[in-house]
């Protein structure tokens, strides 16, 4: 074997391992999403058939039927997740700016308090606060559900934004002001575009955390506030794979849309992911 071939042999081996890993990624990601596509258009699929014996649009008809709870649940989920996201932005942008750009006394404590719900599971807090929610009439209401969804979402929003603000240069704002721009104009033309990737990433986290929430919704909503995860749980529990599958496709759509819109913000230098290194 010549010297060059000797060097290339291990490289080839490395390439094979790499290709196996890549194939694993592709199959690993795709496989658990495929069965729902088939099951959702299946009427009967007996064991051990590899292909369903009867196809049907029953589950999709069920989903678009205005007399079922699906549309209602979809709208509830949408309203709750949107409200959580908007409130998250309104609360998170100033907090992210304060944490990302300024040094102040007890900053470590503020960071600890804000990060805590991202790490410590919210179950105890939500079970604990429910007695108060019942007292003040927030139990079984949309507002109550929105409020508890803020607990696990705010930390992600704020950490993402503080990461972006940490790389933000306030000089630009001053320059804009000195060139005659007023506060509003400075904010919309200078500040907002600079932190926009962070807002997008943070909103994505907030929306999706709220969208996927089951236990907090059922605790506070008490089964009165029906969201998609709650329907999904009940159909999965009843063993109706077809409707559970169709529902899970509806449930996953916003996530896919959001991913396509925001994937360029997830990686790269302006990424919000970097902020998690600070925990």
């Amino acid at each position: 074997m010549s010297e060059i071939q000797k060097q290339q042999a291990p490289r080839k081996q490395v390439n094979i391992i790499r290709n196996i890993v890549l194939l694993g990624i592709v199959l690993g990601v795709l496989l658990p999403m495929l069965p729902q596509l088939i099951w959702s258009i299946t009427h009967r699929w007996y064991f051990p058939d590899l292909i369903p014996s009867e196809w049907s649009a029953r589950s999709w008809e069920y989903i678009v039927n205005p007399n079922t709870r699906v549309i209602r649940a979809f709208l509830n989920s949408l309203v709750i997740a949107s409200a959580v996201t908007v409130i998250g932005i309104v609360i998170g942008v100033p907090a992210g700016k304060a944490l990302g750009m300024y040094k102040f006394k007890l900053k470590w404590l503020v960071e600890l308090i804000i990060l805590a719900p991202a790490i410590v599971p919210s179950l105890a807090a939500t079970m604990g606060i429910q007695v108060i929610f019942i007292r003040i009439g927030l139990a079984d209401t949309m507002l109550g559900v929105i409020l508890v969804h803020l607990i696990p979402t705010l930390p992600y929003m704020i950490v993402t934004l503080s990461g972006v603000f940490a790389n933000y240069d306030p000089e630009f704002e001053e320059q804009a002001r000195s060139l005659g721009a007023n506060r509003a104009k400075t904010f919309f033309l200078i500040t907002l575009p600079a932190v926009f990737p962070g807002i997008v990433t943070g909103s994505m986290f907030a929306f999706l955390i709220s969208w996927g929430q089951y236990i907090l919704t059922i605790l506070v909503g008490g089964g009165r506030i029906i969201t998609l995860p709650i329907l999904l749980f009940s159909f999965t529990g009843s063993g109706d794979n077809s409707i559970a599958s169709a529902l899970s496709i509806v449930f996953v759509l916003p996530a896919i849309i959001i991913l396509i819109v925001t994937s360029k913000f997830l990686s790269g230098k302006s990424s919000g992911m970097g902020g998690f290194g600070s925990i």
Binding site: V14, I17, R18, V21, L22, G24, I25, V26, V29, P32, P35, Q36, W39, F47, P48, L50, V90, I91, G92, P94, A95, A98, Y102, F104, I113, I114, A116, P117, I119, V120, P121, S122, L123, A124, A125, T126, M127, G128, I129, V131, I132, L150, I151, M204, L208, Y214, I215, L219, P229, T236, F251, V252, A255, L259, L266, S267, S271, F276, G277, I279
Partner: protein, 286 residues
Amino acid sequence: MKKFSILIMLAPALAVIILLFLGGLLLGLLQSVNYMPIIGLNDFSLNAYASIFSDSQFLGSLALTLGISIVTTLLTIVFSIVTALALRQTFLGKRLVNFLYQFPITIPHLVIAIGIMLLYSQSGFFSRIATNLGFISTQSEFPILVYDDLGIGIVLVYLWKQIPFVGLIVLSILQSSGNDFEELAHSLGANKWQTFRHVLLPLIIPGILPASIICFAFVFGSYEVPFLLGKPYPAVLSVLAYRLYEDTDLSARPEAMAIAVFIAVFVSILVLVYKKVIKNVSGRAD
């Protein structure tokens, strides 16, 4: 003035988290020790804690929850590094694979839990393939991977979600460190494994520890996936806590609260210990 405006900027966020989260935790704690006069609990007692810690069902749940959390976290670390190393190279279809790799971050756990169930359960797709290929003759011969004793199905769902989350952080560490260290190591005669072990790994591990702690904490406390894919007995701690909370017998309430508080305290202590260790290690390095 500046101090004041920083306070104003932080006030809404702090108010929400202190009132809802810390306040909720405190109320949970009070209910777990049976002391909350406004709802008629007046007799402070630690009975709930005494009873859960002597309950074999709780201890079984604790062991299962710890096992699932530890295994998931370790496998996540290994596979996130392996996949990130593969993804960092140049290859055909890199953009597509990268896009697929980011997919799980946005997909809700529930959807994948259902997918894993439809694939790996005894009547699932893999069981069907095994039957058709003649490896097994009835579905009960297929290994129990979902609703199993070890929580394999649960671990699979978490791995699916978490490997890319941690893997993207590994990728960003690899990208920002550049190739200089590796080339230097290589020129000094290090082979691929030595370069990985002594150059890349020391860069990667500290960078992904925080994310790994988040993963562990999340798995330790989350409800949805183990409820769908786990056995009813033993169930993970959060499932057990909610089951007791929903119990029509209200005397189970303090125990439910005690378990939920235990989850929160356990995770908090873990994070504090981690921070302490990190501080000591980095302090020595300086």
